[in-house]
Amino acid sequence: MTIRIYVPKDACAIACGADEVVEAIEAAARKRQQPVEIVRNGSRGMLWLEPLVEVVTAEGRIGYGPVEAGDVEGLFEAGFLTGGAHGLRIGKPEEHPFLAKQTRLTFARCGIIDPASYTDYRAHGGYRGLERALQLGPAEIIEEVKKSGLRGRGGAGFPTAIKWKTVADAKAERKYIVCNADEGDSGTFADRMIMEGDPFELIEGMTIAGIAVGATKGFVYTRSEYPHAIWAMEKAIEVARAHGMLGVNIAGSQYSFDMEVRMGAGAYVCGEETALLDSLEGKRGTVRAKPPLPAHKGLFQKPTVINNVLSLTAVPHILADGGEFYANFGMGRSRGTMPIQIAGNVKFGGLFETAFGITLGELINDIGGGTASGRPVKAAQVGGPLGAYVPTWQFDLPFDYESFAAKDALIGHGGIVVFDESADMAKMARFAMEFCSVESCGKCTPCRIGSTRGVELMDRIMAGERREANLATLTDLCQTMKLGSLCALGGFTPYPVLSAMNHFPEDFGAPPHRLEAAE
């Protein structure tokens, strides 16, 4: 009897040796004349367990991880093909506390299905959202998205329905859906995981967006650092076309929609929506002044919806189960679920999708298990390179746009990077300035010149030169960057810098203070 084995094809699994594990399994099976069928699934998101190999047994899928090629003989010896006991056995993945505690909507299928299989996608609830969208029609699709309370998952948290309505109302012979898959924030990988693990979900979300606003063409703009995601997306687009789910008269309806994947070229600023549009057009990735909004004059000056991968992949669920169902999750004005990414110096790093409202401390200590190094946690940077460093005494902060904003912090794309005690926060502040200077699009002076000045100031501060005066100048410079920058690269770089400086003055050679603790 052929035994089915799942070995993820997620980039993280591959980087941890999944391809070698596949070869070892094939060799061991051949040796035993045991027929096996290896399915390359996406990742379940328990990334410390990758490669997480799952065997389909009579009781269901049994996981083993992290498996290295050298473990495979031993696994066969231990009878892992029938779920045998072994040090790496984790049991049923869905019963693992890391997964059992989650509320998975966007990532419900990721790691379970074969990402290249249209049949698998359908069998697991795929295209239910599109079917309902086709019954509802454009106006009611947007109404449903509005009811869901969905806010953009790319960083700014702008209500998705408002954006869509603007494009729907714009009159033009051509409109576009652009998916922002430029995921450049350190500590984030949710877009990558979904493109590699459930690419049809993004295709479905973009198709629904196209129908809602009257766009017939979509682009997924992603990074050159994501070759595996590009392959997976392109493969799925081909399959969807072959099944009549992209192209003319989708699923036999009156609507037509098709899409392409485009690759950036290593510029962080191209994640900013207008720089991204310029890059797609074949220009330098320079930020455009607004207005006009992309919704009015976007790609090639045509009305354009630009949304993050996670915004677009929330849409099929909102349509399938209703906006109210989605809005039932969350807190305050942050509705639904957020795929949170736990990374850096952390024991159990991975993807944790949950309703808004969970605290940072729960995420880092309870779910993430604290640091990988075993040293105490010092701080976490949340929201990528433009996000604040949050000290441990603020870990009761709930994951919610408004709560974070109240502390001068941001959720951004939901990435959490954990640092242990050994981290030098002055060095991290310097890095934030340096990153800004390297990645600045060059359009405005506070960002372009200011960040270079920031690096110089940090060098002086770290060398102990006129510390107090230089710290004061740095604070002023941050203020100038905040107020005078056109986009959030220059405008938000001060947040990691100032948070590092204010929470960890001792790293900047100033006397320590812990006033925040009393708040």
């Binding site: 993280c12 980087a15 990334l47 350190s186 392409e260 485009r262 074949g282 110096n345």
Partner: protein
């Protein structure tokens, strides 16, 4: 190890023309040129300008804006070390120092024998299994000194 073709006007034109039907073809064209020749040679700039009916200055501006596009060919192998925050938190600084020491050149440089170019990269999306690196097209996570030495040996071989 990646194999690149020697420059040829004719070949370049053919590579570029494959993308001429696209909306916004310049970026895909530049990627294709670099994939074929290993860098974006100056000679391709007037060719693109003419084909797309834009100025040479505009094409040049685009080529120089993006970190990925190389003006000169790289070493035989390219080792990219992730230097973004999550990889720094997981010990990436020490590994970068180690690599520079072993290769005898700084990040952004090529070894004297032209075998290895070592470069910083900012996030490979492998941040939960950091630190990460990429050798030519191959991605590697959970990097430590031992694994890094193996990568360096592979690149130098």
């Amino acid at each position: 190890m990646p194999h690149y073709e020697p420059w040829s006007d004719e070949r370049a034109r053919a590579v570029i023309e494959e993308f001429s039907h696209l909306e916004g073809p310049l970026m895909p064209m530049l990627h294709a040129v670099q994939e074929t020749f290993g860098h974006v040679p100056d000679a391709v700039v007037p060719m693109l300008a003419e084909m797309l009916n834009i100025s040479r200055a505009e094409v040049h501006g685009v080529v120089t804006f993006y970190h990925d596009f190389r003006h000169e060919p790289a070493g035989h192998h390219v080792l990219k070390l992730c230097r973004a925050e999550a990889c720094q938190a997981a010990g990436g600084d020490a590994l970068a120092d180690h690599a520079e020491h072993r290769l005898g050149c700084k990040l952004g440089e090529t070894t004297a024998d032209g075998r290895v170019t070592v470069e910083p990269i900012y996030c490979l999306g492998l941040c939960a299994t950091a630190p990460s690196a990429m050798l030519d097209g191959k991605i590697v996570a959970r990097l430590n000194e031992r694994r890094l030495d193996a990568l360096i040996a592979e690149a130098q071989s």
